[in-house]
Amino acid sequence: MSAATALTMSKSKQSDNDLFELDGDCADPSLEQGDFLLESPQPEGDATPQQTEFFLPDYDAETPENSNQMEFQGLEKPIHAMHVEGHTKPLQFHYAKNLLESLEAQGIQVHYQCREGYCGSCRTDLIEGEVAYLEEPMAWLNDGEILPCCCVPKSAIKLKLKD
């Protein structure tokens, strides 16, 4: 008898004494399967950590004027009346990152594309008032034209949209 066969023999002998009986009773009676289980047994371990707090913005959403979103360097928080030719609705610049967002939020459709000041799609005529640029506009601007995607009003303004 070779050594390898001897090894297998001793192994099978060991399993005979232990848990792994192919037929016969299970050594641990708690593992014996009942009819069926409604809930599968829970694995041991820490209970799943529950989310116990809500992650709300650190300002009161009800009073957006106190939010920190509206800080523009070197500018008062701009709140200005706006008027767009051909629209009778009173408009106001309020709580927006730039003029384009403010107009869109109030239902005025402006052509746009890059929203970063280089494509020039939102080019608009400024008839009255003043705007301040948050970043330098790169698109070509004629006198009296502004790029709403990268500016905010500095005073009450009157606009004429390109068609």
């Binding site: 052509h111 746009y112 280089y118 494509c119 020039g120 080019r123 790169m138 698109a139 068609d163």
Partner: protein
């Protein structure tokens, strides 16, 4: 007269017009006549991307499942894009570099053309991923009459300018006998050719490309060929910069401050420029007819694409101070804007690549708060 790679003349760089002045000598950017070109270079460099960054494995499967007429739309569109960028990857260099006279503009032209070569490489990336025999597609760009017809109108102004400039640089102004033909070369005529070339390049970048983008995005709107659309988005972002550059050149000339003669030419050529736009719009409509010859696709058909051609032509005309040509005022494809925004809003970074990710950018702003948790 002959081009000099390093001009030994002493001259004031600020007194030079954009083109047809002294050849550029020192590439210096500390003083700039037109800082917009420096800004464009900066922006273009910050946009740098590689086609291999975009995974196209899903597109291969999508493409195999497309019905035949949609395969035709997709491939024809891709062939057209390949043609346009093949032209744009070399022509600005060949046509404009020999005559440019200010260093920041010279570098912008090189940066511009370089980014077009990335676009060309990305078409190969797409074609290689989508079909098993790329040669058939590339060869058809030369053979297909619908494509070659368009190649002619895209390149004729460039070729005209290149020919004129080479005669001018070899022989100078005057009447010359060349290969048995009498050719009259005048600087003013060359400037005219340059102006018209720029108008036709503007049409290429601002209208022709956008019509092709509309088709690419129409597939992705139906969640088909999304990898392709992701690449086209990056290309569209670059194209917006390029057309900004051509619009600036056209507008600077029109003011007459850069070169008074160019100001006169701009006024003279107004009708010709409008005709270039008009012809291009007609050709794009014909192309739409060819694209949808075997059937429409969901979300896009010949009529809508033709309306988009009219809309975008109007937009580009008004951008260079011309009157709109067509009655269409509303964008017939409003969803295209979401694809053209340079920094699309997204909720989770894994959903899409952040296109504004700047390569080599450093935020050097330091506030007092940054040191709040440091104690000595």
């Amino acid at each position: 007269m002959t081009y000099q790679t390093f001009n030994r003349n002493k001259f004031d760089a600020f007194s030079q017009p954009m083109f047809f002045g002294e050849n550029v000598n020192v590439s210096r950017y500390d003083q700039q006549k037109y800082k917009i070109f420096e800004q464009l270079i900066e922006k273009q460099l910050s946009f740098f991307w590689r086609p291999e960054e975009v995974d196209l494995s899903n597109d291969r499967r999508d493409f195999a499942e497309l019905p035949e007429h949609e395969k035709h739309i997709f491939l024809s569109n891709l062939k057209y894009q390949t043609l346009l960028d093949s032209v744009q990857g070399r022509s600005p260099n060949v046509a404009l570099l020999p005559i440019v006279s200010i260093p920041e503009l010279e570098t912008w032209i090189e940066t511009w053309a370089f980014s077009e070569t990335i676009h060309s490489r990305s078409y190969t990336h797409i074609i290689r991923n989508v079909v098993s025999n790329p040669s058939a597609i590339f060869e058809d760009i030369i053979n297909n009459e619908y494509i070659t017809k368009r190649a002619e109108s895209v390149t004729k102004y460039y070729d005209d300018l290149i020919e004129g400039v080479s005669y001018y640089q070899n022989l100078g102004e005057g009447t010359h006998e060349i290969n048995g033909e009498t050719v009259t070369i005048s600087l003013r005529d060359l400037k005219r050719k340059l102006y018209l070339t720029m108008a036709s390049v503007n049409v290429l970048e601002a209208i022709r490309f956008y019509v092709s983008f509309a088709c690419s995005f129409a597939f992705a709107e139906r969640t088909k060929m999304e990898g392709n659309a992701k690449i086209i988005r990056l290309i569209a972002r670059d194209e917006a910069l390029h057309l900004n550059g051509t619009q600036h050149m056209l507008q600077i000339w029109a003011t007459g401050k850069d070169d008074p003669e160019m100001g006169e030419i701009a006024a003279e050529c107004k009708q010709e420029v409008i005709d270039i736009f008009k012809t291009a719009a007609e050709q794009e409509k014909e192309w739409a007819n060819y694209l949808f010859k075997d059937g429409s696709m969901i979300g896009l058909n010949k009529d809508i694409l033709c309306q988009y051609v009219e809309y975008i032509t109007n937009q580009r005309l008004t951008a260079i101070g011309m009157e709109p040509l067509f009655a269409t005022r509303q964008n017939p494809l409003p969803w295209i804007n979401a694809w053209l925004v340079s920094d699309n809003v997204q909720v989770a970074p894994q959903e899409a690549e952040i296109s504004s990710y700047l390569v080599g950018a450093i935020d050097s702003e330091v506030s007092l708060e940054d040191f709040s948790d440091i104690s000595l």
